[in-house]
C-alpha cells in the first residue's frame, strides 16, 4: 500500500486499530501514552510505540501539543495511519521533528485499504508513504 504523506518519516511497530476515533487531548495521557478517554472502548491501552490505525479523527485542537509532548516524553505512537487528512496531528508531528529531531510519520490511506490492516500486525512505514503489513 502507498498513501499520502502528511508527516514524513520511517517507522515500524505493531498496529493498534482504534475501534472509535480518539482525541489525543483528553483522550491520551501524554506522560505515559495510555488511553484515558472514559468512553473509549480501548481505555487503558497504550498507544506508545504502536502504529495507530485511525479511520477518522475527532476532538480537540490541542492534540497537536499532546502529540509533540508524547514525542518529547518518549511515549508517542511509532506512526499514525489515517483514513482522512488531519492538519492538527500533522502539525504536531512537524513541530516534534523540528524541536526534537524525532519523526512520527503520518500517512493517509484510502479507507478500504486502511480496513485491511489487522490489529497487532507488524507494520512498516516508509519515507514516501509506503505501508507494508507482515
Amino acid at each position: 500500500m502507498r498513501g499520502t504523506v502528511l508527516a514524513g518519516g520511517v517507522a515500524d511497530g505493531p498496529a493498534l486499530r482504534l475501534d472509535e476515533p480518539l482525541s489525543l487531548w483528553g483522550g491520551v495521557d501524554p506522560g505515559s501514552g495510555e488511553i484515558i478517554d472514559a468512553r473509549h472502548p480501548q481505555r487503558g491501552t497504550s498507544v506508545s510505540g504502536r502504529v495507530l490505525v485511525m479511520a477518522s479523527v475527532r476532538g480537540s485542537s490541542s492534540s497537536s501539543s499532546i502529540l509533540a509532548e508524547m514525542v518529547r516524553a518518549g511515549c508517542a505512537p511509532a506512526a499514525i495511519l489515517l483514513g482522512e487528512a488531519d492538519l492538527i496531528l500533522s502539525v504536531g508531528a512537524a513541530v516534534a521533528d523540528e524541536l526534537y529531531g524525532i519523526r512520527v510519520p503520518i500517512v493517509q490511506l484510502p479507507s478500504a485499504e486502511l480496513a485491511t490492516i489487522p490489529d497487532g500486525a507488524a507494520v512498516m512505514v516508509g519515507e514516501r508513504g509506503e505501508v507494508n503489513v507482515r
Binding site: 483528553g26 472514559a38 468512553r39 477518522s56 492534540s63 497537536s64 509533540a68 509532548e69 500533522s90 512537524a94
Partner: protein, 405 residues
C-alpha cells in the same frame, strides 16, 4: 512560515490568503514541549502580524488561590501564558472569543482560529471562515498573517453534505429546553464526523447560547468544524442555501430514542443519576459562560445558595467577569456562594475539591472530557437542573422535558 506552508501542503492549497485576526490555543500548558516551541519563536524574534486573542491557559491568573494542584505545574502554565503575551497576543484567555465584542469577526471574514468549539462557532454562527486549526498552526498563521487557501476558507467546502432532520416525536417542551442542544451536538458529531451537516427542524432563530452548545459537543464527539441550522445560522436561511443548491450525500432522521441514548451516555455514573443522587459539585460555563448565561444562573438560584459541601463553579472570560462586576452580578453570585473562575476551565485546572461524589454539568463537552482529564464521574443535566441540584445537594430532574424514558 514553514509551518503555514506545511499546513498548505496537507490541505492541498495552492496559495496563501491574508487573514484579519487569529485565536490561539497554544497557550495551554501540556508539558515542556509547549514551552520549548514558544521559546523557539521568541528566540527568533517573532511577533503576531494580526490582532490575536488567546484561549484558556492552565490556571486562573486573577484568582491563583483557587489552584489545588502542584505549584510547579502552575508556574509552567503561567510562564507559557506570559510567553504568548510577549508575542503580541491579547491576554483574553477565553475559549469563547466570539463573546468578546471587540474580537468578533464579521460574516465572510477570513480568520485563523483554534479551539474546537470556537472554530465551529466562528464558521457556523458568525459565518466567518476558519479551517480546523490546532496548536502551533494557530500561532504560525497569526505570525504569518496568512492561511492556506483551502477547506472552509473556500465557499464550496462550506456546503452541507449531510441533512439531519429532527423527527416529529421530539416534544415541543424539549425543543424549548437548554438540555436538548448539547445532546443534539453529540449526535451531530457522531453522525457527521468531519463533514458539514445541516440540521432541519429546529425552531427558527435558535439562541446563540444554544448554537454554542451544539457546536462544543459536536467538536467533542466528532471533528465538526461547521454546521448549519436552517433558519438560525447565516449561511442557511433555507435548506437549499445550506446545500448551495446541490444534492446531499446523505439524509438522516434524528428521533427521540437516539437523543435519549446520547443524553444517557453523557452521564458516566454507573446506573445513571436519577433524582436524589448525591453530588459533590456543579460545573457550568464550558465553553465560557456569556453574560446571558451568568444572569440565567442567578435567576435559577432565585436567592438560594448551594447546599452545604456542594461547590457551584462557573467559568467565564476575564473581560466578561469585569462586566459582571460592573453590573453587580458577580458580587451577587459570589454572595450566594458561587465561585467564578476565569482564564481556564474546571476540567483543565485542579480547582474542584476532591470528592468521591459525581460532578454535575450542563455541558456536553465537559461531560466528554472531564472523566479522562480529572478523573470524576459526571452527571449531565440542563442548566436549570444543575442549579436546582446544587441547591438541594442531590440530583433534581425536570421530568416534564425528556419524558419518562
Amino acid at each position: 512560515m514553514r509551518l503555514v506552508v506545511r499546513a498548505a501542503e496537507v490541505l492541498g492549497a495552492e496559495r496563501l490568503i491574508p487573514i484579519t485576526q487569529a485565536h490561539v490555543d497554544s497557550c495551554l500548558y501540556h508539558g515542556e514541549a509547549t514551552i520549548d516551541f514558544v521559546e523557539r519563536l521568541i528566540e527568533g524574534g517573532a511577533q503576531v502580524g494580526v490582532p490575536t486573542t488567546l484561549n484558556v491557559g492552565a490556571l486562573d491568573l486573577l484568582h491563583p488561590e483557587l489552584w489545588r494542584g502542584d505549584p510547579a505545574v502552575a508556574e509552567r502554565g503561567r510562564l507559557l501564558m506570559g510567553h504568548y503575551r510577549s508575542l503580541g497576543c491579547q491576554p483574553t484567555y477565553t475559549c469563547a472569543p466570539y463573546q468578546l465584542p471587540s474580537s468578533r469577526p464579521s460574516l465572510g471574514e477570513q480568520v485563523a482560529w483554534a479551539e474546537s468549539n470556537a472554530i465551529v462557532f466562528c464558521n457556523s454562527v458568525i459565518g466567518a471562515r476558519t479551517e480546523r486549526y490546532g496548536d502551533f498552526a494557530d500561532i504560525a498563521c497569526a505570525i504569518a498573517g496568512r492561511v492556506p487557501d483551502a477547506g472552509l476558507h473556500r465557499t464550496a467546502a462550506r456546503r452541507a453534505v449531510l441533512v439531519l432532520r429532527l423527527a416529529p416525536d421530539i416534544p415541543a417542551a424539549l425543543m424549548d429546553d437548554g438540555s436538548l442542544y448539547p445532546v443534539l451536538g453529540i449526535v451531530l458529531g457522531r453522525r457527521a464526523g468531519s463533514r458539514v451537516a445541516v440540521i432541519e427542524g429546529l425552531p427558527p432563530g435558535v439562541a446563540e447560547e444554544r448554537l454554542k452548545a451544539i457546536g462544543a459537543s459536536a467538536a467533542s464527539s466528532g471533528a465538526v468544524a461547521m454546521f448549519h441550522a436552517v433558519g438560525s445560522t447565516p449561511e442557511a436561511p433555507t435548506l437549499a442555501a445550506a446545500l448551495q443548491g446541490g444534492e446531499p450525500e446523505e439524509v438522516a432522521e434524528i428521533g427521540l430514542t437516539e437523543l435519549r441514548g446520547a443524553r444517557d451516555e453523557l452521564t458516566t455514573r454507573a446506573g445513571g443519576a436519577p433524582t436524589g443522587t448525591p453530588i459533590g459539585a456543579v460545573s457550568l460555563g464550558t465553553p465560557h459562560a456569556s453574560l446571558v448565561e451568568l444572569r440565567a444562573i442567578e435567576r435559577e438560584l432565585g436567592g438560594a445558595r448551594p447546599a452545604r459541601g456542594v461547590e457551584l463553579l462557573v467559568s467565564t472570560a476575564r473581560s466578561l467577569l469585569a462586566e459582571a462586576e460592573e453590573e453587580g452580578l458577580a458580587r451577587r453570585l459570589r454572595g450566594l456562594g458561587v465561585e467564578l473562575l476565569v482564564d481556564t476551565c474546571t476540567y483543565i485546572a485542579p480547582v474542584l475539591r476532591s470528592s468521591p461524589l459525581p460532578v454535575m454539568t450542563d455541558s456536553g463537552k465537559w461531560a466528554f472530557y472531564a472523566p479522562g482529564n480529572i478523573g470524576v464521574e459526571v452527571v449531565f443535566g440542563s442548566l436549570r437542573e444543575c442549579v436546582r441540584s446544587a441547591v438541594e445537594g442531590r440530583v433534581w430532574r425536570d421530568a416534564s422535558v425528556w419524558g419518562s424514558a
